[in-house]
Amino acid sequence: MSWIHIMILLPFIYAILVPFLYKLYSHKLHTGWFVMPIPVIIFIYLLQYITPISSGEKIYTTLAWMPSLGINFTTNVDGLSLIFGLLITGIGALVILYSIYYMAKKREALHNFYIYLLLFMGAMLGLVFSDNIFVLYVFWEITSISSFLLIAYWYQRPKSRYGAQKSMLITIFGGLAMLAGFIMLSMMTGTNSVQEIISQMNDVTSGPLFVPAMLLTLLGAFTKSAQFPFSIWLPDAMEAPTPISAYLHSATMVKAGIYLVARFTPVFGGAVEWFWIVSVVGMITMIWGSFYAVKQTDLKALLAYSTISQLGLIMSLLGLGSASMAFGFTEESAMYTVATGAAMFHLINHATFKGSLFMVVGIIDYETGTRDIRRLGGLMTIMPISFTLSIIGGFAMAGLPPFNGFLSKEMFFTSVLRASELPIFSMETFGIMFPVIAWVASVFTFVYCMILIFRTFAGKHQPERLEKKAHEAPVGMLIPPIVLSSLVVIIFFFPNIIGQSLLKPSLAAILPGFTQDGAFEFITKIEAWHGFNTELFMTIGIVIFGTLLYLSHKKWSSVFYTLPEWFSLNSVYNAALEKSETVARGITNNYMTGFIRDYLVYIFAFFSIALLTCVWVLKGVSLDISNNAPISIYEVILVIGIVISALGVLFSKSRLTAIISVGALGYIIALLFVIFRAPDLALTQLIVETVTVALFLLCFYHLPEFKKEHSRVRFRITNLIISLGVGITVTLLALSAQGNKLFEPISSYFENSYELAGARNMVNAILVDFRGFDTLLEILVLSVAGLGVYTLIKLRKQGSGTNETE
């Protein structure tokens, strides 16, 4: 147990304390104040890793969990996990501060809120620091579950429950796929540690399960990170409280998939499938998300689609960056690492400005009572600070100077332009698509950012359409977005601080093959002004076209409604869910009829078909009659008697005939026992048969309530086929067992019964001496049956209509 383990487990442990603190102090102090120190402590703790990590050190600690299965809580602190750790705890602390002002102390169940939040935080920390893939998976699922709980925080609302269920189904589906991928990786390499898997890369790339493992792992990453077409859960997750949307659905959880892709780039990267899938899915997600974000009228939905789009951007950059591995880490390939650098840089930038934007939207919602763009407007003078914050966040998202989004967007353009000149992966033909899509998506991004800022704050104020009288938010609520916005600006002016300390080590973790120092030199030389190059002209083009589109938005916004309602991913999801339920219900209703006869038909049909097929395939029937006893006339007569009585049971019209035929059968069998030299059996059979027949008569004939109906067993051809099948199967099995005697019976041993047990009757000696234990339990069976009969007759349900007293 080292400090890093304690830090990861700290939120879980503290979550236990939260309800007690809530119970004791909630009337005095908001519970959030007690929770806030936790992320702050972890943040400060993680800061001290920056120096060793940026000097290339790797910190690796193990805590034994299930050593015999190779599953240990191993932590690996490197540049990549450190970036995520700092984001999780830093933004976590700000979000908790924000929620203290956002969540009302009296009305809300705050203990639930903070328990779920702490669970999520701990799980996310565990996810990014785990080196063991199965431990990673455990934390991955805890993030899904705690996110589910947080989305449905206001569980009284049907929409919250719908959104929570949807995100649960999609992310758990992906999580299970990812587990399958992990198991394949573990099978191929024989180890569960990510670092060891990377060091045994040759086993993976040459293994037959390479492509399936890659696809399944990617499925997990895509569902979690809301990539196309699994992005549909994210807009519905906006039913969560706004601090949660800001934290989970912009800054942390949705980036777990990004983390996964980045973490496994050393394993799968360099393969053509990985390159194409990751970058193309990212590109599609980016343009789809930015296009649909323009349509939204709810501010949170707009931000949700913009998150989808930005995640697509980061994902496609990771895909493009993996191309550098295909060259085998040469000088020439180093130029493509800029894409990976841009991905990590934009990851940080996106977390800062998107967190801030969500908080601003939450403030607007809190102060006006609505998030609908059509009802908002003219808040510029009423809420100047929020306006400033949203300008910073929105311009950063649109990629304008002097904000950090500009830098990462320029790097993004650099990456796609270089990727379009890639000499491999048939990029010569398709490569040109990348800059075009990237540019178009960025134009839409610009448009929705402008809608976000100016539809909300500019224009005419409509106080009559707002639920509350709008005014500026309390200071405490403004501090977290102010901190994030100042980061947005600081990163723009001093990008090389994080470039040197965080980005470079993270690149070394994603692309570990680059041993020479020069490969990542670009990341410490990011600057705002780099001359008049293509990237800058692209940005200028975005601003011009974006402004034109924004101004003419009303004229062309009808394009979103040309597609019918049913033609969307959501309706496909809903229809699939509904259809699967109806189909499953239909199938179940079809075979679960409730009639015993049907179930017996299934059982017997299966029995006969399985056994007959088995006998036929294994050629099991072998007749060997050499050992058989001769047939005597008595036996023939008795067998004829059996057949006649059996047919009598079958064709009897009245119950009495059936019962008497059964009795006759029983007595004939007793006679057979006599012939086959079994005196004890004959005795027992006679008595048992007599008692049974008497019972039958008592229950079904002589009791006055019983209707005296006469009915023959109805003939049914299926019944005949099945019963014939069963009869033939049993006969065949008996015959083939006869023909295959494997060894002599042990019965000669029982001839010692006098010497060993003092009994001359061998059967009785077996029953009470050699195998007396069976008899004991058989007595128990009889006693239980007797008690059961007694209970059935005596006990009545109280208050039921029948007043019977026996």
Partner: protein
């Protein structure tokens, strides 16, 4: 002889199965009796029907029939008797409560 007995056992199983698939509760119980008869005879047949004396040492014969399957069948007879009598009373109670012994009318609850 074993072949004849195997066929007899087959007849027992066939008639038992046919009755088990019928509608009347009484016939179902009868079918269970037939099936257990079939199983007992099968046990006896499988042990071999060679002629020998009854398994009583006082007969002082050269060879005896196999006593082990007889002990097994004896146990089985008693157990199937216990189960049959319980089933009979159960069927009787069912009839008293529901006024029918038709299995199709006794089918599960109505809300399915």
């Amino acid at each position: 002889m074993e072949i004849l007995m195997s066929i007899t056992v087959g007849v027992f199983f066939m008639v038992g199965t046919y009755l088990l698939l019928s509608k009347s509760l009484l016939k179902v119980i009868v079918s269970l009796i037939l099936l257990s008869h079939g199983a007992h005879l099968l046990l006896l047949t499988m042990a071999g029907l060679q002629r020998g004396a009854s398994p009583l040492l006082s007969l002082e014969a050269d060879s005896y029939t196999d006593p082990l399957p007889q002990a097994l069948i004896l146990t089985a007879i008693v157990i199937s008797f216990g189960v049959t009598s319980f089933l009979l009373v159960l069927a009787y109670r069912t009839y008293k409560e529901h006024k029918t012994d038709d299995l199709e009318q006794l089918r599960g609850s109505a809300d399915e």
